[in-house]
Amino acid sequence: MQSSPAQPVSTTEYLMFRVATERYALASTPVREIMRWRAPTPVPGAPPLLPGVINQRGQILAVIDLRLLLGLAAAAPDRATRLIWLHHGDIDAALLVDAVDDLIPIDAAHLEPPPANLTGPAQRVIHALFRHHDQPVAMLDPAALFALVQEAA
């Protein structure tokens, strides 16, 4: 992350996490809190990608299973499983992810457009890529993500 003195660059903090074997990131601004997994209260009739709701200090959060949203196979929670409290617009929800890795600053100049061959939900929710330790990390757009969930709900 080097910034040329002539041009100030905008650096944003991103939260990196894993879903299945893939790496994703979210800008840290809409992230309120990271929680250990706990069994949500199921909402009958809701689609599988909304396995239920949890109560986090008085706020009801809908749990969104990112695996299912991204079209990956469901998995049982384990010790690394985390819930990411995401707040965007008037929606508060908890994203179910397999593990949370790190919070890293990323310079906007290092963002790449998403690959052209994305399809389905990934195409809608991934709005940029960057490389971290030479691994591709997909950045999720909270607005697109919530819009997708609302369509499914």
Binding site: T41, V43, V53, I54, N55, R57, G58, Q59, I64
Partner: protein
Amino acid sequence: MDLTSFYAQFRDETADNLRILNDALLAIEGQAGETLRRSELDRAFRAVHTIKGSARMLGFDPIAQVAHALEHVLGEIRQERRALDRPLADVLLRGGDLIGQLAAAVPQMPAPALAAVPEFVQALGAAAPQPPLAVAPQPPPAAAPQPPPAAASPSSPMLAETAPRTARQTVRVRVDRLDRLFNLAGELAVNQQWLGEVGQELYRLQEAVDRQQRAVQALEQELARLRFSPTQRQALDARLTVLRDAQAALADLAQRQSDRLDRHLARQQMLVKDLEQEVMAVRLLPIATIFNSLPRLVRDLAAATSKQATIEIRGETTELDRKVLELISDPLVHLVRNAVDHGLEAPDERVAAGKPPAGLIQISAESAGNEVRIQIRDDGRGIDPERVRRRAVELGMLAAERASQLDTQEALDLIFQPGFSTARTVTEISGRGVGMDIVRANLLELGGQVRVDSTVGQGTTVSLTIPLTLITSRVLLVQAGRQMLALPAATIRGILWVRRDQVQLIDGQPTIAYQQRTVALLSLAELVGMNVDSPLARHPRAPALLLNVRQRRIALLVDDLLDEREAVVKPLGPLFARRPALSGAVQLGDGGLALLINPLQLIEGGARRAAALPVLSQSLRDDPRPARVLVVDDSFTTRELLRSILQSAGYDVTAAIDGADALDRLRSTTYDLVVSDIEMPRVDGFTLTTRIRRELALSELPVVLITSLASEEHRRRGLEAGAQAYIVKSQFNQDSLLKVIQQLLGHEE
């Protein structure tokens, strides 16, 4: 200077002042007494003057112009150079409206309103507005600058204008902050419940200590009876003394902790209650904030419909939660419109009926315990239940025979049906009957109720009952399937225990007789969307919650009643917005959640889904006759459940109680398909299938086996016996069953 921060304040302040102007003008119209008239005029003048001053300061000249024109006319009226007659009052009121339009979204001002300004100023016949603003156009006697607002002592109005608004003991607080406060107070109340549970644990600890103490005493007595050597005795005594001391200390400690917690709990209980009440009070607003607009509404409506109406308002100081006020504002306006438009007769008609020509609209609010009751009463023509019945039948809402069975109250309730309107002509004012169902929906959302009483020729009263506050609501916790669900206690009319053998079928639908009435029986879990059997399939008797939905009675079967308590209801958020039957979640003492179900929404939603089914049966109607399906099951509930599903999908359904019964029926009648259970007395499902194929030689007849035997072995046996489909009960869902049947009958799309 950045003025943006002042715009919002200007909008609010102007709205307040316009309200004052409105009220004052209406009060003057109905006011004979000179002193009161005078003080109302002063109020109107002051309001307009303030608007003018602020508008000029912020550079909103069009608003200032209109305000100036109004001020000028009001000044003339005050000096008795002009009389405030009705046409002039109309113009003044319109001027207020114009300012309202201009000020609603400042700094933006809508073009049509701007265009109307010069014309309006002209129409008022006021002197051409004088642009200079350093000097007041004329110094008419106005109110005292600040402290005693009631006194109308003359002084310079500019003083009031330039002096900063001080000495007001109020602050504006953002609504979301209040909501947060409200939420936290609720949180605290729930925590308090949890602490209560800790207190209970301590009691149990004390009891255990008591038991231990008695056991130690018994042991001592036992030991005293035994023989020991003096050294042994001494050693034992030493040990016993230690034990006794420890025991006493433990008992003492347990006692003290329990007492302390009790005292603490009692004190905190009071504090939490106080806090709740205070937080609640912060959110309370007098109902006047919405009542205030009603006199004007009635006046304008009466004019538009060529009627005469007077309005009487009582209880404006009754306070309600601001959220509640927001939600009842539209319904209230709608009801008042209805009262004038539908309720009141034309003056000549009234006179002919021996009534005064002007109709009376009475609006009152009063709080009673935890509720507020609002009544809208008119002395008009009343609602004729007979006409309502006829109209409902005409609209196809119910059969004529059914309509004639409704009692008066039930018939009147029909006006809350969507799409119902008895107005002979659809008027612009009362709309097309889209209103009353919205009124009811809004009230239900609040946990309130609405009731109509009417006497033909004498008038109509609509009563709204609304909970005072929304901080906690009383909920009933029930077990439905595998889950705990909460229902608002206010919606439940009663509890009924249903035994399997009390269920009666009407047109294939399970019902039960209760107080000589037929009550539809539904399973809560199934309605909510869980894939579970009816509670009666699992228990010989089960509790049911009695509800009144529209004019029908419904009993919702649940597995168990768990508790009734006060709970804080939290919204589920926009992700579940498409599920109106889920009205939120309530937090349990241990921090867990139970979904709060609005049973009325649930049933209405269910009714809509059921209404969608005839489409399916229509597509089957291309066939000359509906397919005949034989349902075989020894369980009454399963049988009737299957029967009702298949019948509503348009099939002709016959039921058999076991395999042997089915074989008898198959010998005498042809069926197009068989749906059978496996475990049955006499002839089971496997044998039935085999015998259908071998003995009856019906090799083509489709057989669907439905069973709780989920093993692969059973599945194989079923298919070997010749069944076409095998549905496991735990995966059972109505759509997949219907799909399988359609496929087997060759009806698939």
